[in-house]
């Protein structure tokens, strides 16, 4: 399982930020060739991101490049960036499975023979993209996650973007459900007010409750809050360990169903507990226990 609790956008034409992108501890860094780059600077950003991928140490962060949309510079972006071995390409404004097929073919054509296959993360930010979410998630084995881009989406709806996020509730749940059905991750839209830590906390907590596995981020200051929310709490870990203990004890006694504090423990509960313990182990939160 790849951790994508936090995915931090870094402007693709800013050398100072590109060279320091690995120090913030984000699970993924997204080197951005799209919205963060002025139209006249797309070419220069492409050279800069290509060089950064080859030389900058991003530590344990996954390297993702957000390319430009398919109807603008996507083809030239993919041709320049894929041979520099990013872990994944974030494709903006995906609206159909056909878009993914097109991107996957371009990636395959640009990959070097010995290269680890480049993954695809589909950014859904239009009403059409939300409608097609499941087909997009299932379109190609390279697709590992669906991400929601709420700013463009609400503009497409003609709705006001609010801090409460009522207007994107349906889109959020559709993306989460489609991703889960296709067995890929779901990543929530960024919280765009970098100075509102309380708002970020509430929004991230909501995202986790709904089922998102991570959140896009537009400022390094947001990463700690996002990680705190998506990390399993000590109570979660304690509960999960009790569940596993209870089910193993029941199995040893010849029963497939156990009880914990008066509540039935069945397969979905065990699966949830195992996911929590797996995540805790990945994050080193198990206090030395393996």
């Amino acid at each position: 399982m790849d951790l994508r609790r936090s995915m931090l956008f870094i402007p693709g034409n800013n050398p100072g930020m590109l060279q320091n992108g690995g120090v913030f501890g984000a699970d993924s860094v997204i080197l951005d060739l799209e919205d963060a780059v002025a139209p006249m600077e797309k070419d220069a950003a492409r050279f800069l991101v290509a060089q950064a991928l080859r030389t900058v140490d991003y530590g344990s962060s996954e390297t993702v490049v957000r390319i430009n949309p398919l109807d603008t510079f996507a083809a030239v972006d993919i041709k320049a960036i894929v041979p520099c071995c990013p872990d994944a390409i974030l494709v903006p404004k995906v609206e159909s499975a056909a878009d993914i097929h097109q991107v996957a073919a371009m990636i395959a054509a640009a990959e070097k023979p010995d290269q680890t296959p480049v993954k695809i993360i589909a950014l859904l930010e239009t009403p059409c993209g939300i409608v097609e979410a499941y087909q997009i998630a299932k379109a190609d084995p390279r697709v590992v996650a669906l991400a929601l881009g709420a700013e463009d989406y609400t503009a497409g709806l003609g709705a006001m973007r609010t801090k409460e996020g009522t207007e994107i509730f349906t889109a959020r749940t559709i993306v989460i459900n489609a991703a889960a059905a296709a067995n890929v991750q779901s990543i929530d839209t960024p919280y765009t007010d970098a100075n509102d830590e309380e708002g970020l906390l509430a929004d991230t907590q909501l995202a986790k409750r709904l089922g998102f596995k991570g959140k896009l981020s537009i400022n390094p200051r947001q990463i700690d809050v996002i990680h705190t929310v998506f990390n399993p709490s000590l109570n979660d870990i304690d509960w999960a360990q009790q569940v596993i203990h209870a089910i193993r004890k029941a199995e040893a006694e010849g029963s497939g169903v156990a009880s914990l504090n008066g509540k039935m423990v069945d397969l979905p509960i065990v699966n949830r507990a195992e996911r929590i313990l797996h995540l805790a182990e990945l994050l080193g939160l198990m206090g030395g226990e393996k």
Binding site: N14, P15, G16, Q19, D43, A44, R46, F47, L48, A50, Q51, A52, R54, T55, V56, A80
Partner: protein, 97 residues
Amino acid sequence: MASITKTAQAGTLESSDVMITVAPGNQGSGIVIELESIVLAQYGEDIKIILEKTMKEQGVTDIYIKAVDRGALDCTICARTLAALSRAGAVLKEAII
């Protein structure tokens, strides 16, 4: 051999960046570099080596380069130089991009 047909610029004067201006040189003039840098005393020669290496890799022989450096890393100097060359009309070697 790559050649450029016009003057072009890439990069900015922000910290950690470098602004590269390239202009066609007369035939036989070689690679002429004019460098300003906040770290000229420490890294001036290294920056010139990167600029020359990038030109040679691209097969550019006669060119005037002005570089105003604000503490850019090697990869940034290389990227900005390639961008300036591309904007000046050079057909770059794909492997370098």
